[in-house]
C-alpha cells in the first residue's frame, strides 16, 4: 500500500505566528513601494514644471548637454532615496496590517508620474 504524499498547505500560514517570516518585512516592502511611487510623482511634477515655466527649466539644467532632464531626474532620484530611507526607518518594524491605503496612494502617485511625463498634459496646462 502506497504511503500518501505529504501535503504542504501554506494557505493558512500567518506571518505574525511564523518567526521565520517576520511580518515586519512587509513594512520594509511597503516603504520601498511607496518611496518609488513618490519618486515617480516627483519626476512627473518636475517634468510638468519644466515644460510650463522657463525659469524652472533653466534652474534644473544641471548638465548643459542634457538640459533640464538632468535636473528633473537627479532631483527625483534624490527625493526617492530620501523618502525610502525615512520610511524604511519608520516602517521596518511595523506589521503594516492596514496596507490598503499605501497601495492606493502609491498607485495614485505613479499615475501622477505617468500623467506628468505625458506631453499632451503639459500642452493642455499651457506649455510651449
Amino acid at each position: 500500500m502506497n504511503k500518501p504524499n505529504k501535503v504542504i498547505d501554506m494557505s493558512e500560514s500567518n506571518p505574525a505566528e511564523n518567526p521565520a517570516r517576520p511580518a515586519s518585512a512587509a513594512g520594509s516592502a511597503w516603504s520601498a513601494i511607496f518611496a518609488a511611487a513618490t519618486g515617480c510623482a516627483v519626476l512627473g511634477i518636475l517634468t510638468l514644471m519644466t515644460e510650463i515655466w522657463g525659469p524652472v527649466s533653466r534652474l534644473l539644467t544641471f548638465n548643459k548637454a542634457a538640459g533640464d532632464l538632468s535636473g528633473v531626474t537627479t532631483l527625483s532620484i534624490l527625493v526617492w532615496l530620501f523618502v525610502w530611507a525615512v520610511l524604511h526607518a519608520r516602517w521596518k518594524s511595523r506589521a503594516m496590517t492596514t496596507s490598503g491605503w499605501i497601495l492606493a496612494a502609491s498607485l495614485m502617485l505613479i499615475l501622477v508620474g505617468l500623467l506628468g511625463t505625458f506631453p499632451p498634459i503639459a500642452d493642455w496646462l499651457g506649455g510651449p
Binding site: S13, A32, I110, T117
Partner: protein, 186 residues
C-alpha cells in the same frame, strides 16, 4: 559594413540594455505570479524567489544603465544645436545638412515634428520611471523572498508595479526605435 560610435551607443542603448530589460521582465513576472500558497513547496518557493530577485535586480541595473546612457551620452547628440545655416537637405558647404542634428531635423518638417514634440518628450521622461519601479520590485523580492507567499497584497502590488515598469520601458523603447528610424543619431 561599419557603425559609427554614435550608432554603436544607440544600438547598445536600445538593443542590449533595453531588450535585456524586457527579457528579464518575463522571468520576474512569472516568478512573482507563481509565488503563492499551495502552488509551490517551501523549497520551491525559495528557489523561485531567488531567481526572481536576480532577474529583478538585472532589470533595475539594465534600466539604470539604459537611462543614464540615454540621458548623458545619446540625448546630447540628439539635441545638439546645428549651425544657423543648416537645412534638412545639404546644399554644399554653404548650407550643411541637419542629418547630424536629429531633433532639429524632425522639427524642420511639420510631418515629422510630432516625433520630437510628442515622441521624444514622452520617451525621455517616462523611461526614468522604469528603473525606479524595478528597483522597488527587486528590493521587495530580496527582502521578503519566499515569504512573499504569506504577503499576497505585497505580491499583487509588486505585480502591478512591475507591469507599470515594463509599460514605461516599452513606451520608451518603441518610441526610441521609431524616432531613430525617422531621424537616426549618427
Amino acid at each position: 559594413m561599419t557603425l559609427t560610435d554614435r550608432e554603436i551607443w544607440t544600438a547598445a542603448h536600445g538593443m542590449v540594455l533595453g531588450a535585456g530589460f524586457l527579457l528579464l521582465f518575463s522571468g520576474t513576472l512569472v516568478g512573482l505570479w507563481i509565488l503563492r500558497p499551495n502552488w509551490l513547496t517551501p523549497s520551491g518557493a525559495r528557489v523561485v524567489a531567488r531567481l526572481s530577485a536576480a532577474a529583478a535586480w538585472g532589470m533595475a541595473l539594465l534600466a539604470f544603465a539604459a537611462v543614464l546612457a540615454g540621458t548623458y551620452v545619446i540625448y546630447p547628440w540628439y539635441r545638439a544645436k546645428p549651425p544657423p545655416n543648416a537645412t534638412p537637405d545639404a546644399l554644399g558647404e554653404a548650407s550643411p545638412s541637419l542629418s547630424h542634428y536629429p531633433k532639429f531635423l524632425l522639427l524642420s518638417r511639420p510631418e515629422t515634428s510630432g516625433w520630437h514634440e510628442f515622441g521624444m518628450e514622452w520617451k525621455e521622461h517616462v523611461a526614468w520611471l522604469a528603473p525606479i519601479l524595478a528597483t522597488a520590485v527587486a528590493y521587495c523580492l530580496t527582502r521578503l523572498g519566499a515569504g512573499l507567499v504569506d504577503h499576497p497584497r505585497v505580491r499583487r502590488a509588486l505585480l502591478v508595479i512591475l507591469t507599470i515598469s515594463f509599460f514605461c520601458a516599452a513606451v520608451a523603447g518603441a518610441l526610441g526605435a521609431l524616432i531613430n528610424k525617422a531621424a537616426p543619431t549618427k
